[in-house]
Amino acid sequence: MWWSAGVRTEVLPVDFQAWWDFVFARRSQLVTDSYLHVSAVVQSIVIATIIAVGIGIMVYRSPIGSAVATGLASTILTVPSFALLGLLIPILGLGVRPTVTALVLYGLLPIIRNTIIGLASVDPAITDAARGVGMNRLRVLGRIEMPLAWPSILAGIRVSTQMLMGILAIAAYAKGPGLGNLIFSGLSRVGSPTAVPQALTGTVLIVVLALVLDGLYVLLGRLTTSRGIR
């Protein structure tokens, strides 16, 4: 493996001066990489959400359909990200395409599962009342079921986002965008003076950005969830 015993002895007594010099010198590249990282994750999440909510809506009424959809999505999640990227490169080439594809695939499971749970846990009396006052299937879904399932779906999106922030780092292997490149190139040059600060910066930035995104989700949840069900 690429993290050898030699790294650990050097990482722990961190040389803060060296780290700061590195960050300062590379600041514009760090900003660009951070932006690309977040941008790739957010775009992948948007695509994953559209697919996953669509699948959830299609299967939530059928226990078998729900089991199959959740099962398939969790199978994808068990494929190691390194391996999945490796499998995608021959098909999609290097760069953004295999990266986004892998992220979307990984992001599906939590959103599908939470969409199914959210929709299935809407009180049948409420949907019955909605049908009873003359809403058609589509209206019941759009006006009643989706707003009620939304907090659950959003929780799924949040989990997926956190997960994808980390997984994207590995996409540097497929020449994907983002902060993974820092970590990869840092770790591949262990021994040189900037190696550790580089890898560390990438890792810390990913953690910080993930926390910021999470905060934004809390805000989004407050703004988009009815006061009646908060």
Binding site: R131, G132, G134, G228
Partner: protein
């Protein structure tokens, strides 16, 4: 049954849509894979502007029967007409917008405010915003919720009873002629349930809708129904008649079992003191003559009389023994205990008689003035009369009344007989 109509006061109000007749004609619901039909050849007429209660054991198909009226369940065969129009030929969503629907625990949309919940159907049928806002406030007023206080609340901020009121307001918002209520008061505490039932009766006396009400509580059926349909398994109609008639003469053992052992007691809740003949006793004002009163009392078998105050309100009971030693009617006799109003039910009267352990109880009018006495004999006589009235309900098949008998194996199923 004009007496029933006047009891529940089903008078139509002019600025509301009055109820229309609903006819079920040979309606069957069969689920695939089940041998027995869930609802087996049911025919009945629900008269315009009346409250008809479907009552029966759980799983008897009463809810299924009701849900076929607004086609939340599609009948397998048969015809349903609402106000003469074939319900099965109308688009189901359009049909449902014209039928109020209220269910247990109200089924309110938790993510919408009270006002938005009430405005659901007017919104679906495209009323303009101002009209909807006015209507919403009017509806909240109607069900006894102050619009300014409750308009912007969410359902979870309301008590169970208040949620149920909002549910009724939502069902009535688009002024439908027909209201379907599926155990709407099943999930609230007994006191609130009583209040909501009173409220519904008041609303109904104002609005005159056709209400189909499903419950398994026979007391609720007796209280609310102009007619009760007692349903057996597969929704077979065991008896379809006024509460008085069912209590007085249950059509079969199953109905009798459902009515319970206290049918006569329940019957007493249906009549009020003003409907029965009261008896008289000698009365005198406080400034009246002692001798006259004594003579009046001695002339009777039951030697008790009443002293009234200046406004004719009963004050004290007197007997000849009280009057033997006094020269004024002031301050003699025993104070009057329980007093009944003409509005009280006969059950209240029985309770008062038992509580006083006396032979008779005083009845007073609106302003507390003496009207007469009610005795245990009056109650017995009333029950006997009701039983006599309904004694031959089931023998006479040419009876034009609405006594539909649908015995389990019955050959008496004939929709024409159900016409009111």
């Amino acid at each position: 049954m004009t007496d029933t109509a006047s009891r529940k006061g089903t008078a139509a109000h002019h600025d509301h849509t009055h109820g229309v007749e609903i006819v079920l004609d040979d309606v069957v619901k069969r689920y695939p894979g089940q041998v027995d039909a869930a609802v087996d050849h049911v025919s009945m007429t629900i008269p315009a502007g009346e409250t008809v209660v479907f009552v029966g054991p759980s799983g008897c198909g009463k809810t299924t029967t009701m849900r076929m009226i607004n086609r939340l369940i599609e009948p397998s065969s048969g015809r349903i007409t609402i106000g003469g129009k074939d319900a099965l030929s109308i688009d189901p969503d359009q049909l449902r917008r014209g039928i109020g629907y209220s269910i247990q625990q109200a089924g309110l949309f938790p993510h919408l405010t009270v006002a938005k919940n009430v405005a659901t159907v007017p919104g679906l049928i495209g009323w303009d915003r101002k009209h909807i806002a006015e209507r919403t406030d009017e509806m909240l007023d109607l069900v006894g919720l102050d619009p300014d206080t409750y308009r912007d609340r969410y359902p979870r901020q309301l008590s169970g009873g208040q949620q149920q009121r909002v549910g009724v307001a939502r069902a009535l918002a688009a002024d439908p002629p027909v209201l379907l209520m599926d155990e709407p008061f099943g999930a609230v505490d007994p006191i609130t349930r009583g209040l909501l039932q009173d409220e519904l009766m008041r609303l109904q006396s104002e609005l005159g809708k056709t209400i189909v009400f499903v419950t398994h509580d026979f007391n609720e059926a007796v209280k609310l129904g102009d007619r009760i349909a007692v349903l057996g398994s597969q929704s077979h109609i065991m008896q379809y008649d006024t509460p008085e008639a069912i209590l007085a003469n249950p059509a079969n053992d199953m109905v009798a079992g459902f009515v319970g052992a206290d049918a006569s007691l329940k019957q007493l809740t249906l009549s009020r003191v003003r409907d029965v003949r009261l008896i008289e006793c000698p009365t005198a004002h406080e400034d009246g003559s002692v001798d006259e009163m004594r003579r009046a009392l001695l002339a009777r078998r039951r030697q008790w009389g009443l002293i009234l105050d200046a406004r004719n309100r009963p004050v004290r009971w007197v007997s000849p023994a009280h009057l033997a030693t006094v020269d004024s009617l002031r301050d003699v006799g025993d104070p009057v205990g329980e007093i009944l109003s003409v509005q009280s039910t006969l059950q209240d009267a029985l309770e008062a008689l038992l509580a006083e352990s006396s032979a008779s109880t005083v009845v007073t009018g609106r302003r507390g003035e003496y009207v007469g006495l009610i005795t245990i004999d009056t109650l017995v006589e009333n029950l006997r009369q009701l039983r006599d009235e309904h004694a031959d309900d089931h023998d006479d098949l040419s009876d034009p009344g609405p006594s539909a008998l649908d015995e389990p194996g019955g050959a008496q199923r004939a929709p024409e007989e159900l016409a009111p």
